[in-house]
Amino acid sequence: MSGSIQVHAELVQVEPRARQRIVCLRLFAPQVARAARPGQFVMLAPGPDGQLDPFLNRPFSIHRVPDADTLELLVAVVGRGTEGLAALPPGVRLRLLGPIGRGFDPPARGPLLLLGGGLGVAPLFFLAESLAGRPVRLLYGAATAEALVSTAGLPCRVELATDDGSAGRRGLATELLAEALSALPVAERALAYLAACGPEPMLARAAALCREAGVRAELSLEAHMACGTGACMGCARPIGGRPQRVCSEGPVFDAREVYP
């Protein structure tokens, strides 16, 4: 049995969030917002009821829960579903299923590292906000400054990396991670924790670095999805020696299971 519910969420606002095509969808969905935990996601219909094409709902991480009634999704416009969503007028009601899946499970104490690559940063905002007051560092990489989403107001230290050096460090976010890990006092490593979301090569590298450093890491994975309920097996892949569903058994998995 899933803890998700299906609602008709009202699109309150569509707001650009980077100089590249990234928008923030703000949705009125009180029941889902109240139940949401960082790292969980939603399946959002790409258009109003009755529109049969595009056919499938789209998975999006819960980016922020700015108040108890509202969900924010950070959406990169990359195809026909997200094109359509970004062009919708406020007031439209969209079918939304959520919150879905197993979110992040940070320890109650110890240093916390968050690693986001590209749009993978989306769920880390919600996580950082839920950890306000704790020692959190967000390491955030993107291709260029144009693709970066503003982190202003996040209650944590932020370090940036871009492929072309147009903002922050020139290079990969995993280079920031390597430095952050080696700067951790050895005694603190067993208590430390990494939450990472982004492209798979980045996740693989992060998993390897954390393994070497003896730091527990959790990774948020993606897969093409149909149901988002655990029923269709569309998102299943071998994890921890057996097929696991990214939607219902993830999307967050222990790094040692994903990259044994």
């Binding site: 049995m1 899933s2 803890g3 998700s4 519910i5 299906q6 219909a45 009821d49 049969l52 094409d53 595009p54 056919f55 499938l56 709902n57 079918r95 299923l97 897969a223 093409h224 999805m225 149909a226 149901c227 988002g228 309920t229 655990g230 029923a231 269709c232 097996m233 569309g234 998102c235 299943a236 892949r237 071998p238 097929p243 219902s248």
Partner: protein, 309 residues
């Protein structure tokens, strides 16, 4: 004021299988039903049809397994399932507790495997009928799907029929030249009903990378895109055979179900639509009931095969 119209009788009979209403969920699109507990009124369904069960567990195909296409999707799940034993111990108890019929979809590589599955499920509390997926490769005949050869299809149907007392539905593949010929041979084995259609073989390619959009290259097409093919199949087969036909393919709303029934289906299955809206099967049933009421029909059976050609 005119009296409220009588609620139409929604009960249907598919051979020896009695259902409280004609709307089932389609195999592979509803898991083992427990995934939808709390989201959907499961008791409002005419029947739950399980994901395909094989003798041994199957791990399924590589990612990606889902590729959306125009008004539908391709899937190459690869019949991933936990196998017969785990199905009986882990999945069946929940299904048994539901106040709706449970149809177990089975698949194998030889007629003997199908028969062993049928025999093992006979007498299991909670199983009301079997649905035989014959779209699988026939290992003995060099991997050609059982469903694409009339003789092989009938051999599987007869083997299952002989191995169980349960009502047996045979789900036909549309990937054939002469569906009526196959349907007639299968019907003659004494099965309780035919279900049509399963997915159509299809492919999609990413033109930038030059790679197929499914890990397995080829997959099965489903959704609104296939509805006209399914309706045609139901129409042709239901006119040619005496056994009841269950329509499946592209049903997202009550009108699609009504279309299948007018074509000749006594009942329907809702598949991919559940991915967009988990409540779709229940909404199809409610809408169908309202539609029948508006037509002044006393029973959903009165709609079956009413297309005027």
């Amino acid at each position: 004021m005119s009296p409220a119209p009588l609620r139409p009788d929604m009960r249907v009979q598919i051979g020896r299988l009695a259902l409280k209403n004609p709307v089932m969920v389609a195999s592979g699109t509803f898991g083992w039903a427990n995934e939808y507990a709390g989201l959907v009124r499961l008791d409002a369904l005419g029947a739950v049809v399980t994901k395909g069960v094989s003798l041994e567990p199957r791990a399924g195909n590589p990612q990606p397994r889902i590729a959306e296409t125009a008004a539908g999707l391709l899937n190459s799940i690869g019949l991933q399932n936990p196998g017969l034993e785990a199905f009986i111990s882990q999945k069946l108890p929940f299904l048994h507790g539901l106040d709706t019929a449970v149809v177990v979809n089975i698949l194998g590589d030889t007629p003997e495997e199908y028969a062993r599955l049928a025999a093992a499920l006979d007498g299991q509390a909670g199983v009301d009928a079997l649905e035989v997926n014959i779209s699988c490769p026939n290992v003995r005949a060099g991997g050609i799907a059982f469903g694409s050869d009339p003789g092989a299809a009938a051999e599987v149907a007869a083997a299952v029929r002989a191995a169980t007392r349960l009502p047996v539905l045979v789900k036909l593949s549309p990937n054939v030249t002469d569906l009526v010929a196959i349907a007639s041979r299968v019907a003659a084995t004494g099965v309780d009903g035919l279900v049509l259609i399963n997915t159509l073989r299809g492919m999609a390619i990413d033109v930038w990378t030059g790679r197929p959009r499914l890990g397995n290259a080829i997959g099965g097409l489903s959704g609104p895109a296939i509805k006209p093919i399914a309706v045609r199949a139901v129409f042709e087969v239901s006119r040619a055979v005496a056994v009841p036909v269950v329509g499946c393919g592209g049903i997202t709303g009550w009108a699609d179900a009504a279309e299948h029934m007018r074509a000749g289906a006594v009942a329907v299955q809702v598949g991919s639509a559940t991915f967009r809206n988990p409540a779709a099967p229940v909404e199809v049933e409610e809408g169908l009931e309202r539609f029948l009421g508006e037509l002044g029909l006393r029973s959903c059976r009165e709609l079956v095969g009413t297309v005027e050609v």
